[in-house]
């Protein structure tokens, strides 16, 4: 099935990659960064291996910035951005990119909305024309609103309503966050989505879509000087919008309780659990803490060499799956999570107990320098492999810059990872992963008393 306009969820996401960056690149391919007079930030990542360029525009707005009661407007609006301007009617961007053999798409998360095209390098100027034009020039009519709202409602039915796991994740996330809008699903609650209208869309557009709230990322077979000239000719002509107020969302209060959310569903053949805590992210953490949390997730459950996998899957055979994840790239404090699925005759309770024991062991006994070095080596290797695809690089720079981090943050990341000590890692585990404040979701078969 072709999926267009994929929607990424943030929150307790295991889905989002940790912020990655590259080792120092060769000089001729150095990343360039500059700001146009109207406030548009531009990043150029040269990569001359294939005659392809990835052009991405990131807006610093996501579902967590939506007005109360308008859940889903950020994502719905992303769809509406394809409905045409006075200069380029609906379908013309699609047709142009298609004729080039390129591809285009867009996505919305809790923190960002991004639009991108992958095309031959000589089409870059044309892509910039389209994106610069629709940054301020979108024409919205009631007619296009209605049909497209049906499409996003259908998208919600397909992604969420048809999946027990998705329904549970949605309500689990709503429980994990007591006050922050990360608790509201990016696609929106059905009853609020049904009410979204043209006025909502127009005011959202007016407020957030402007060059001074956007980041342009161009990666691929181009030179920074060319990109700068083209960007000034297109985006440079778009008027700066009003200054946006500081990006302050409602924040999380101290949590004093644990909680659990359970869904029984006839489609579930094997039980599973996911447990999460809201922890600082790269933008909000004390120096070194986010890096330590990143490595902690790797050591606990990031690969087949992780403690969960080796101890709970391989050695004891209690679990079929066991892992951990950290959403360190989120703008505000976000999820650190662990998850497990039992194997054979073992129960979910046994898996939880075994994973909790591993977590306790790490908090109590810490880790060796050797174990930490191996995890760091896997990160280093991941960075080199990430450079193999220009879309990865555009993603890394775009997501960081659109969520309050800088090019320096990205480029200094390997050094900051290298500096993490075993003691720091143990300290963040102890500080943040307190069983007394964990929120857990259980996905269970219909049988009563299943655990």
């Amino acid at each position: 099935m072709t999926i267009k306009f994929a929607l990424a969820f943030s929150g307790a996401a295991l889905l989002l990659q940790p912020a990655l960056a590259l080792d120092t690149p060769p000089q001729q391919n150095a990343v360039e960064h500059f700001v146009l007079d109207n406030g548009l930030e531009v990043v150029v990542i040269p990569d001359h291996r294939a005659p392809v360029v990835t052009h991405m525009v990131w807006y610093k707005v996501g579902s967590a910035d939506e007005p109360a009661g308008k859940s889903g407007i950020a994502h719905f609006f992303e769809h509406l951005m394809f409905k045409g301007t006075e200069r380029f009617p609906a379908g013309e961007l699609d047709a142009t990119v298609t004729a080039l053999g390129g591809n285009l798409n867009a996505f919305t998360t809790a923190d960002v909305t991004a639009y991108f095209e992958t095309v031959p390098p000589d089409a870059l100027a044309s892509m910039m024309d389209f994106e610069a034009d629709r940054m301020r020039g979108l024409v919205l009519t009631d007619a296009v609103i209605g049909a497209e709202r049906d499409v996003v409602l259908e998208e919600r039915r397909q992604r969420v309503e048809s999946s027990a796991q998705s329904l549970l994740t949605e309500e689990f996330t709503a429980t994990l966050y007591q006050n922050h809008p990360y608790g509201i699903p990016t696609i929106g609650w059905m009853h609020e989505m049904e009410q979204l209208n043209r006025a909502d869309a127009a005011s959202f557009y007016e407020q957030y879509y402007a060059p001074n709230n956007a980041v342009l990322v161009v990666a691929g077979d181009v030179e920074p000087a060319t990109v700068k000239t083209l960007a000034e000719q297109s985006y440079g002509q778009v008027e700066r919008g009003p200054d946006l107020p500081p990006r302050l969302r409602p924040s999380e209060p101290e949590r004093n309780t644990s909680a659990s959310v359970t869904l029984h569903d006839p489609r579930v053949g094997l039980p599973s659990f996911l447990r999460a805590w809201v922890v600082p992210t790269y933008r909000t953490a004390e120096p070194g803490e986010a890096e330590a949390l990143d490595l902690l997730a790797e050591i606990l459950g990031g690969s087949s060499r992780s403690r969960f996998y080796q101890e709970v899957v391989v050695k004891s055979g209690t679990a079929a799956q066991a892992g951990a994840g950290y959403d360190g790239g989120a703008y505000d404090p976000s999820g650190f999570s662990i998850y497990g699925v039992p194997q054979g005759e073992h129960t979910l309770a046994e898996v939880e107990a075994a994973m909790d024991a591993e977590l306790t062991r790490l908090i109590t006994d810490g880790i060796s320098a050797d174990e930490l070095d191996r995890a760091k080596a896997r990160f280093r290797r991941g960075l080199i492999f990430a450079r193999d695809a220009q879309q990865n690089m555009a993603q890394i720079y775009g997501s960081a810059l659109a969520t309050g981090r800088s090019v320096d943050d990205i480029e200094q990341w390997p050094e900051r990872i290298r500096a993490v000590t075993p003691e720091q890692l143990q300290a963040v585990a102890k500080k943040y992963l307190d069983p007394a404040t964990a929120v857990t979701s259980y996905l269970l078969p219909p049988a009563t008393g299943a655990q």
Partner: protein
């Protein structure tokens, strides 16, 4: 065209190459496919690229899950899970630690027609990584403990999916189209067949399939042709010459059936199978263009326009050609709200009938041609892994190392009348339709 830096070796390394000048602008990047043959006579295609200090190798042994003996379904799936679970003198844990230390990522996977292996390694640790891949290819151990663990994970996967209506739908779909043919067998196995699998079964399957004759290799990255040729001999030089494969019959999918999997869901999924063509049929690209216009992977296709854009009936709809080694089909797939499933199906049938009767117009065909020509480098050459995948795919389909250079002319030669005739041929046939969702109200 590239020539090789010739080093003194027992046998000279032979190379021919084709530069793909992928766009009109002369200063732009190019990707050069080289055809190399190792001193021991093993062929591969190579793309040298030093921009990132990594090397990616991908290879395919023809065979795949259709080689599972009857009653041993799931054997290939279990086999592919065990290559990093111990080889040579290294047990599972020692092997995985060594692989981690070597900074390499290794993977094995199978489809119905081939078993694929791949490794992505850092150029600076190439020798360590290749030594481990060689062990995995030549001497997997199949120790009982990892067999039991991986079997348990496959069993978990089957148990987890057993209550999912998609599982039921997939079973019905495969059985309806392929009957008793191996394509209808369960590649993941069943609880019964998995329980019966032994280390000897795995060894036999490995020996039957891992041979040099039906091996296809692609190498991409920071390595020259001489070193790549030496790597081929290291990895595959000791394998037997010919595989011992079970012959798989060609089969036409059984069309004209109407299937319904009842399930109380808010959406109804719809799948429709029509006939298609062999990948090496001279008219294949005509069918491919027709499918692209009907429901290809870009906005503006007829199905997307009518079903999504005009009516908001779906989030996605596609038509694609399902090419397997022994069976072909054109498949339309979508999901729509349950109470409008009948309307959606009627719209799809109408779009299909119009295409069969009238064919495309000139503008649609021109746009589809441009898309298919331009998208190839963007989709198929976007990373080392994508390039390696393309190199192996072209070899498996026997399309030739110059295929990418010839492909635009082949596409441009197709006319509106060709497409119209093809649409009549493929789309006038009654399809097999499967709907999964709530039973229609009487």
């Amino acid at each position: 065209m590239t020539t090789l830096p010739l080093l003194r070796r027992a046998l000279a390394v032979v190379a021919t190459s084709f530069a793909l000048l992928l766009t009109a602008l002369p200063a732009q990047a190019e990707v050069v496919f080289q055809d190399i043959t190792s001193p021991q006579g093993i062929d591969a295609w190579l793309v040298e690229d030093y921009a990132v200090p990594i090397i990616t190798i991908r290879f395919a042994f023809e065979g795949g899950t259709t080689q599972d003996p009857a009653g041993k379904e799931g054997l290939t799936s279990l086999l592919t899970a065990l290559f990093d679970e111990g080889a040579g003198t290294l047990d599972s844990e020692s092997f995985q630690i060594a692989l981690d230390d070597a900074g390499a990522e290794m993977g094995f996977i199978a489809d119905a027609d081939a078993l694929y292996g791949s490794m992505r390694m850092l150029a600076e640790q190439r020798d360590e990584a290749v030594a481990l891949l060689k062990l995995a290819i030549e001497a997997p151990r199949f120790d009982q403990n990892p067999i039991d663990r991986m079997r348990a994970q496959l069993v978990s996967g089957i148990t987890a999916a057993a209550q999912n209506p998609n599982t039921t739908a997939q079973r019905q779909w495969a059985t309806a189209l392929y009957g008793e043919h191996p394509y209808a067998r369960r590649s993941e196995g069943t609880l019964q067949t998995l329980a019966s699998l032994t280390a000897d079964d795995l060894r036999q399957l490995h020996q039957r399939q891992f041979a040099r004759q039906k091996l296809h290799v692609g190498i991409v990255g920071a390595i020259d042709a001489t070193d790549a040729a030496a790597m081929l001999d290291t990895l595959f030089g000791t394998l037997p010459d010919a595989p011992d494969l079970t012959t798989i019959a060609d089969i036409d999918p059984q069309l004209g059936q109407d299937l319904h999997v009842p399930y109380e869901l808010p959406q109804t999924s719809i799948f429709m199978a029509y006939p298609s063509l062999e990948r090496d049929d001279p008219d294949y690209l005509t069918a491919y263009l027709m499918t692209q216009i009907l429901g290809g992977d870009n906005f503006g296709s007829r199905l997307t326009t009518e079903v999504r854009e005009e009516r908001g009936l779906t989030y996605g709809i596609s038509a694609s050609l399902n090419n397997m080694a022994h069976s072909q089909a054109l498949v339309i797939a979508t999901a729509t709200r349950a109470d409008r499933a009948a309307e959606t199906l009627a719209v799809i049938k109408d779009v299909v009938a119009t295409m069969a009767e009238d064919g495309p117009d000139e503008d649609e065909l021109a746009a589809a041609k441009k898309y298919l020509i331009g998208s190839y480098p963007i989709n198929e050459l976007s990373s080392s892994s994508a390039i390696a995948n393309t190199l192996v795919g072209l070899q498996l389909r026997d399309l030739g190392i110059d295929y990418l250079a010839r492909r635009p002319d082949l596409i441009n030669a197709v006319t509106v009348d060709d497409i119209k005739a093809m649409a009549q041929r493929l789309l006038s046939v009654e399809p097999t339709i499967l709907q999964m969702g709530p039973a229609p109200k009487p």
